[in-house]
Symmetry: none
Subunit: 248 residues, 2 copies
Amino acid sequence: MRAKPIAIKVILVEPAGALNLGSVARLCENFGVDELRLVAPRCDPDDPEAKRMAVRGAKFLKAAETFSCLLDAISDCRRVIATCGRIDHGTIPLNHPEEALPWLINTSKESPVALVFGREDRGLTNQELLLAQKVITIETSPQYPSLNLSHAVAVVLHELNRSQRDFSTSNPKDKLSHQPASPVELNECLEETKELLLRVGFLLDHTAEARMTKIRGLLQRAEIRPEEVAMIRGILRQIRWAIKTSHS
Amino acid sequence: MRAKPIAIKVILVEPAGALNLGSVARLCENFGVDELRLVAPRCDPDDPEAKRMAVRGAKFLKAAETFSCLLDAISDCRRVIATCGRIDHGTIPLNHPEEALPWLINTSKESPVALVFGREDRGLTNQELLLAQKVITIETSPQYPSLNLSHAVAVVLHELNRSQRDFSTSNPKDKLSHQPASPVELNECLEETKELLLRVGFLLDHTAEARMTKIRGLLQRAEIRPEEVAMIRGILRQIRWAIKTSHS
């Protein structure tokens, strides 16, 4: 199907239900996922209910690494797709799975890629969604759109599998050659930006977060590249220098 | 989305797990299924575990009609698709869901259509498979192909939903509602950026054009919006002010 397997990390943020956790572990084995990662889980991977649901995916529970925040969990991943149950998300455009998932695996690089799923009750926060380059939503009935967590994982992994199947036929080269900046790089760059914007008075303490969210959304939509992150840091450095030297 | 709704019957043959039964009821509500039917169930739709998993799909459990054999359960359905986990089925050709499902709903008749799912452990018998016009299988990892029943239902209902969706009309709404900034607006913003970057020494006369091309490329990839152009101009204004006032 594909030339060489891309390591796919399935990341659950604060999963609360042991049944769900076990079900997702089974799906990881069903669909050839590389690793299951947990961010601040609210249930125990050792729970007998989780093991019961995992069946032959139990090894994913055993091996699951736990992280304290999403940024840490995706720090080695270049391409990240988050999932969102809500329709009205303003900052990052929502995609159908079949639109965004081919992008996730259309990469020749060795970096792993990540699929992020939120809490059973509240999904992912906007801050968490903004750590991904793309956000997908599964279309469901408006009467009751809320899918069970493991069903959302099933649909997305199936769609990814379908994308991999079609992958051999077409892959535009220019897309292959551009890797987005790593989440950590981008985060550092945004922190530096925030400092400067506070200093020049564009941001005030009470507006900082909302405005930085907008800037992050813009850069994520662009799938900003490492060399562009470097360019922005160069600009920030030069502006700081200009402010400083105009003092003297 | 579709002109007139086709009544979709989800039929479970001898389901044994109350958790699965409840999960499937939830999925029926998630995906606008018309009715859940049970053939000789080996668990009780009234089981508290089933209700717990069904959440807002509990009415499907309550309304579920029970039949003694599959033929009775599909007697009013014209088009029937059965699901099969095994790869080596000789008698009826296996289809990918996306190949067969459009056929299921591509009908002007008022007859309901049926999706049939087999037992958790053994699936459907060959006799049962032969009651359907088409048989679909979900591609999974050869290492562990066996999907949990409710995950198979999730994937198939999602695929059916995808088939029903007319791409031209139902792209996610927020993609449509965001207009990119006008070329003139963007151009003015980039001119202003260039002036400032020359002033702070990030651009030199001989590098200006190449670097501004990169910045423009980044913003174009993001399909920058009018309000984001305004934000950037606000940042530029504030930086100019900071440089100026630090003089005095």
